[in-house]
């Protein structure tokens, strides 16, 4: 579903992501683990077409993010770590704006919005301006907007930060449901426990380079990564 080949991204003199290659398959929840500043967000933003990169290739379902960005973006949803949304819109208006952009028909969007809003317990506030929302409420609206067009690939940056336990549980359910329907999830985290519980595969990034990729058991069993795990757990 998502194929990253030799991705390199520099910010001035600093190389944020260095020759990173990775593949995420359909039906897979893939955690991207690393310390703060390791290059997780840069990689995810590059996959979404938000950040241009210096070299390498990223393809989604065989299409290049660089040469065919609109087709790629139609298949993905992105959830940032800090959901800065349009504060001049109501929550419901924002979700509808995203649905308009993705061309979701009225019946489908209404059904999905009502379902997600009830389950995430934000239905009573969708008629209120986003400017008055808490961080968690914005996160919930961003999740609904991301899922409203039923993406094939869901890219998330620290998705569980700021969510209450109930909403985290509901989101995990959505992720599993999406994968069962043939979708793929690629999300970043610096918390090992979160990754261990829900993911099928993990990749570890350190100083912009991919250190290891595989199933959780394979990666955890790799004794050479002891120092990396100590960093993440410590």
């Amino acid at each position: 579903m998502l194929k990253i080949e030799h991705l390199t991204k520099r910010f001035g003199e600093k190389t944020a992501v260095d020759d990173l290659s990775l593949e995420i398959n359909a039906g897979e929840i893939h955690a991207f683990i690393g310390r703060n500043g390791a290059g997780k967000t840069t990689t995810i933003k590059s996959c979404c077409g938000i950040l241009p990169f210096d070299s390498g290739e990223i393809t989604i379902d065989g299409r290049s993010v660089v040469s065919d960005p609109v087709a790629c973006k139609k298949m993905i949803a992105y959830l940032p770590d800090n959901p800065d949304l349009y504060e001049y819109m109501k929550g419901g208006e924002y979700i509808n704006f995203v649905a308009d952009i993705f061309g979701v028909d009225k019946t489908r969007r209404t059904k999905l919005m009502e379902r997600y809003a009830e389950e995430l317990e934000i239905a009573d506030s969708l008629g209120t301006a986003i400017g008055s929302y808490s961080h968690g409420m914005k996160q919930k609206v961003a999740i609904i907007a991301a899922l409203i067009h039923e993406p094939k690939l869901f890219l998330m940056d620290e998705p569980f930060v700021g969510l209450d336990p109930k909403a985290s549980f509901v989101l995990k359910g959505y992720l599993r449901e999406m994968c069962d329907n043939g979708g793929a999830i690629f999300y970043s985290t610096h918390v090992l426990d979160v990754a261990e519980k829900i993911c099928d595969r993990v990749s570890i990034i350190r100083n912009g380079k991919l250190v290891r990729s595989g199933s959780m058991d394979e990666v955890k069993g790799d004794e050479s990564l002891e120092e990396v795990f100590l960093e993440l757990e410590g």
Partner: protein, 535 residues
Amino acid sequence: MKSILIKKELKAFIRSFLRKKDGTYGDTKRGILIALLFVFLFGSLGFSVFFMLSGICGPIVYMGIDWLYFSLISIAILSIGVIGGIFTAYTSIYKAKDNDFLLSLPVSASDIIVSRMIGVWTITLFFSLIVGVPALIAYYVNGRFSFVLLIENIIFILSLSLISVTICCVLGWVIAQFAARVSGNLKNAGIMIVSILGFGAYFLFVNRMYDIVESIIGNLTGIAADFSGNFNPLYIAGAAGAGDIVRLLILFGASLILIAAAVLLIRPRFGALATASKAAKAERFDSGSVKVKGARGALLGREFKHLFNSPVYLLNCALGALMVPLVTGILLFNIPQEAVGDLKAWVGSFADETVIGLVCSAVVVFISSMCYITAPSISIEGKNFWILKSAPINPMDVLGAKLLLHIIVAEIPSVACIIVLDMYFGMPAVCIVLGVLTVVLFVIFQALFGLCVNLIKYNFNWTSETFAVKQGASVVISMFGNMLVTLAVFLPYLLVVCNGLIYQSMVCAAALITCIALYAWLRSRGVARYNCLEV
């Protein structure tokens, strides 16, 4: 801590003009360009202020009541300072995005308020100087000059700018009190109505300015008698400006005391007011009312929603759309229908009467250049830019929506006004058609120019929308660039004095070619720049 906060405010102000893409400063070329723009601003506005005030200054100096001149310019400086700074005060004190963060730090509310006030002061000082500098030059030319007087006058202007800040901050506090008590839509509507009434009063004043000046000159002794008196603040301010050192110290001391009093007034409810918008009554969303749109429709709808939900954006960048009919109304009011014949006959003595149509187009185009909606439209996306960048939309659709918003808002009143003006002055049909074409093309040019400049000079790192819509380099370049282009296109007529229709046709052709060139740049290099923008 206070000095760190002040440094941060000043840095944000300077960054909005001089910051380069890589975040560094110190580019000499950039500094020179910005300085030239400011010289143009000061020059164009300063000349008219200088000539108007010279007319008052001469008789006052002749009568030996110099203090009255400074009393009058004190009123002008305070007025323009307050008009220029009131909404900056409200937004930068109460609506700054980093208020929550600063309130969480071990920083006193007074320190936050003072640092914000410094930011507002940069604006009021700027406006004070627009009137103050030509006013002082008029006095030095018509009255007297000495180095000591110059120093005293610097303190005089400084004191008045500080009093302007105080008034702005107190009025900002009143707006914040109002905003905290009413819902979002009512709040925006209230702010806009008050602002439009304020601008209406301002233009009424400008319209009657020459009558006021004449009545002042005709009644100098009477006004002097009204203002005089040792405890009259206007007399104190006037005497301070005229070089009375004791009264200058009183004025300066009073300005500092007023600032301190304003801080004391604002401080008690600062935290509550700065976070007031966070509390809102929860409401369910009515899904049934949703109208499904295509991507382009959604983007245009989003642009409209942003403009009309942000009083700062609307009042600063779309003001030209309101001013075009206002100025048209003033013109029609001041030139009665009976005088049109005389005007035509006078114009006919040196050119053909269609020149009137050309002048009408120039006026409408010049005023519409004060509508610069596209100029901050990229910067204003701020931290939300990720939404557009991650959406499956063509960059030209995003840029097109921004252009269309500007064109719709500015074009409708401009076209209506040029038709009304041309018909009022009895211009032939071909002149009306050319007038409409000129206005349409120039508004499109203004929209394109603003957007192109903002793609080059964008700034996503602002803490208050005011920085993006009021102080960004792209806004200054677009607004004055548009004015300069208008003057550069229409003024050469005075050198050639040919048939008005021929000249206007040439203007249209030039505008059309420029619009095509700008649009071509936008589609190629503009889109490439858009794709490289990083939040």
